[in-house]
């Protein structure tokens, strides 16, 4: 048996889906969290398959994700559709119901949000609702989990009411629709839902025109004339008339004064306070993640992997003597008689490479936590509401903000969430510009270098990068705008009621994202670390570089000279010329090859530097010590890595959403060009300040 879950945006479909199936799909408090159909089995049943669909207000789709729902309803032949309705906005919810009832499918109505009806002053008589609509109505609260068993029992026993196919339109309209239904060409696939098709024909929907041979244009015109409206208006009008009558006879609405949401909006959407509050909230997110927690944990985590004598906690040296995982393993291999290179591979290849990325897990947890809070409280929709006017001027939509905020976690879901933007141009620009937002994988780069730029105030440097990302997005939107076709854009959205975040879902979200990060560290970063280790430890003739010697060099310089003789050093020395301006006059093959590896995954930049540096503190090593004394180079390097081509994952997401490989490649090229120009400018400024000295050549 196939069950569909259909309803308005933000009605709680996915929350109900998770309850029914016991799965953990992502939920949030903004319209458009679900953008693809998701399938599952109802728990405790072997054959009750259920499909979660993106939210829609009607079966006429406006955006790609809404088309998914229409396609499911019309062509997937569900046995029953659970129509989840938001009891606090019954009229709008039931409008969709009137369309679903025209399908050749039985409907069960799950009346959600029943737990907050009372505080909204609403009394709902669901028995009466069931009698009036003629379909089974189950009162549930997806949030509290009530009514779910009743719903499941209806599905299992199939004892729900059959679709009554009530005739809801006024006489002349209904007669014409019946007439159209009778004349349908039943052999065609689209005729599977004849009542729905007949209404669509009445509305002159071109998609259904093939279904009929009879011309009814004359009759429809006469009806339009009597009502003084066109066919689409007549249908929408009469659907709402029907729904309003039902609502009036089963809902009692008391005036409860201003809701909490309205009171909070007086603050968060206040004319003067809104922008400062937004800046403070976003600043706080990055201060917490990058500044506070970073200064507390980064050094400690590093000590666990690489060992230390003292660690830096809140900018203070604290004694903390620990051997560290890498040195321990390296020693164990040497003691067991392993070769020097084997110990080096484990200690300075694998542990240093993977560890350098894992150092940032505590910070990422905080970042993911803050983002989950923004998503679940309903504040994110306010941001897109009040910034729409600004974004519109740049050819973007207020809804672009959602991808941008999600993008500070990961670009891939962010690029996909751009589907909720109606206007194709705004959507395309949003997809192209989202990778400029520093994602969580770029956080290690920011965290590593920010402390160099402004010692003790690293979070200011990192905040400046986020602000720069916003400026870049807006400026580039202006550059891109003339190249894309324009249609008249719109912003139709809703401000969801504020909700206290559910600990369960926030926890789940943070866990899932952190786990994905750790998995990447354990797979792709591990693999790359080994490859980088091989390339940076062997010469083209497969000589182990640490066996090379040059008596004219001191210890640290010898080590960096040795690594420089490797294959990676050879490749890097060619690319490094390109990065001289970016690195403020420093010629560094190590930085150059690491930057290129950002294509695989942005964390890989730091990981590669760690392997090349041979474990330990990256910026203390001889190869990369120039960063520590040259804030310009550090800033230029960050800018390049943050704003250049995103990782392959994001590129393929862009390719899919833009629908063309060429467009995706053009975007990547464009982004890299922007990053290269900007980072060169910044670096060159520092180069000039230092009197045009070139180091390392």
């Amino acid at each position: 048996m196939l069950i569909g879950l259909v309803g308005n945006q933000n009605a709680g479909k996915t929350t109900l889906f998770n309850l029914l199936t016991g799965s953990n799909q992502k939920v949030g408090n903004w319209p458009g969290v679900t953008i693809e159909r998701k399938e599952g089995l109802i728990r405790g049943s072997g054959d009750l398959a259920i499909v979660d669909t993106p939210g829609v207000y009607s079966l006429s789709p406006y955006t790609d994700e809404e088309k998914v729902t229409r396609k499911f309803c019309l062509t997937s032949k569900p046995d029953v559709i659970i129509n989840i309705i938001d009891a606090t906005s019954l009229e709008r919810s039931l409008y969709l119901t009137t369309q679903l009832l025209e399908l050749n499918t039985d409907i069960i109505i799950a009346c959600n949000m029943s737990d907050i009806l009372e505080q909204n002053g609403i009394t709902l008589d669901e028995k009466r609702l069931q009698d009036l609509l003629g379909v089974t109505v189950v009162r549930i609260s997806a949030k509290k989990g009530t009514g779910i068993d009743t719903l499941i029992s209806y599905l299992k026993n199939r004892n729900y009411l059959k679709n009554p196919h009530t005739r809801i339109y006024e006489e002349p309209v209904q007669n014409e629709i019946d007439h159209l239904e009778g004349d349908l060409n039943n052999e065609l696939e689209e005729a599977r839902n004849p009542k729905f098709a007949a209404v669509k024909l009445f509305e002159r929907d071109p998609y259904f025109q093939a279904l009929t041979n009879t011309s009814t244009e004359q009759e429809i015109k006469v009806i339009e004339k009597t009502y003084g409206m066109d066919a689409e208006q007549i249908i929408a009008d009469q659907r709402y008339d029907y729904v309003t009558k039902i609502k009036e006879s089963c809902v009692i609405q008391k005036d409860v004064g201003k809701s909490i949401t309205d009171k909070l909006d007086q603050i968060f959407l206040n004319k003067w306070a809104a922008l400062p509050i937004f800046v403070v909230i976003m600043g706080l997110v990055y201060f917490l993640a990058v500044g506070l927690v970073g200064s507390l944990t980064t050094d400690f985590m590093d000590a666990l992997f690489n060992g230390s004598q003292t660690i830096n906690v809140f900018y203070r040296e604290v004694p903390f003597a620990i051997k560290g995982l890498g040195p321990l393993l390296g020693e164990a291999i040497s003691n067991a008689g392993g070769s020097e290179w084997a110990a080096d591979l484990v200690q300075n290849g694998i542990v240093a490479g993977v560890g350098s990325v894992c150092n940032f897990i505590p910070q990422l947890i905080i970042l993911f936590f803050c983002l989950a809070i923004l998503e679940t409280t309903g504040y994110m929709s306010r941001i897109s509401f009040f910034l729409d006017r600004v974004f519109k001027k740049f050819g973007l939509s207020g809804k672009s903000l959602i991808p941008f905020i999600v993008g500070s976690g990961c670009s891939v879901p962010a690029i996909m969430s751009a589907r909720t933007i109606e206007d194709p141009k705004e959507r395309k620009m949003t997809i192209m510009l989202t990778p400029f937002i520093p994602c969580s994988a770029k956080l290690p780069i920011i965290a590593l270098f920010s402390s160099v730029v402004f010692p003790s105030y690293g979070w200011i440097a990192s905040l400046s990068l986020y602000l720069m990302a916003v400026v870049l997005i807006l400026v580039n939107a202006l550059i891109l705008r003339p190249f894309l076709k324009s249609t008249s854009s719109s912003f139709i959205s809703e401000l969801p009621a504020y909700k206290l975040p559910s600990i369960k879902y926030v926890g789940r979200d943070v866990y899932d994202k952190t786990l994905a990060f750790v998995k990447r560290a354990g797979t792709i970063i591990l693999l790359c670390s080994v490859v980088v280790w091989v390339l940076s430890r062997f010469t083209w003739t497969w000589q182990y570089v640490y066996f090379l010697s040059d008596s004219s060099l001191t210890d640290g310089a010898l080590k960096s000279w040795q690594v420089g003789q490797s294959m990676l050093g050879g490749i890097g020395r060619i690319i490094a010329y390109l990065f001289i301006p970016t690195l403020a006059g420093n010629y560094s093959w190590g930085a150059a090859v690491s930057a290129i590896q950002g294509l695989i995954a942005k964390e890989q930049v730091v990981s590669s530097m760690s392997v090349i540096a041979g474990g330990g503190k990256i910026l203390a090593s001889d190869i990369f010590s120039f960063f520590a004394s040259n804030g310009w180079a550090a800033y230029g390097f960050m800018v390049f890595n943050l704003f250049s081509a995103p990782c392959f994952g994001a590129i393929s997401a862009m390719r899919k959403e833009l629908g063309s490989t060429k467009a995706a490649l053009q975007t990547v090229l464009f982004e890299t060009l922007v990053a290269f120009t900007l980072s060169s400018l910044i670096g060159t400024l520092g180069w000039a300040v230092n009197g045009w000295q070139v180091h390392g050549l």
Binding site: S58, T88, Q233, Y240, L269, F385, G398, S490, I492
Partner: protein
């Protein structure tokens, strides 16, 4: 190509007068008399959201920068841009 951003001084409308939805101030209510939009899809979308003749619309919240606007109709709230509100003819009731 882009919308003129300065909508000028909004007319001050009293109950019983006719105008566009975009003329209303916060807290004012109007009944939809007619409704047009050059963009077919957008017009359909607004119809689906319940903006039909005779429906009562109240201006609930205005974005801090003046646009878009959050309006209340049919027991729920909807955000739309001023540009689209100008296509909605109303009669002021409150």
């Amino acid at each position: 190509m882009s919308e003129p951003d300065n909508y000028g001084l909004r007319k001050s409308l009293k109950p019983g007068e006719f105008g566009h939805l975009s003329d209303l101030k916060r807290g004012q209510k109007g009944v939809v008399m007619d409704f047009h939009n050059d963009n077919e899809a957008l017009r359909r979308h607004l119809l689906d959201m319940g903006i039909t003749k005779g429906v009562l619309i109240e201006i609930k919240k205005i974005a801090p920068l003046g646009d878009p606007v959050d309006v209340k109709l049919r027991g729920y709230e909807l955000c739309i841009r001023r540009a689209d509100m100008r296509g909605i003819d109303i009669k002021v009731v409150e």
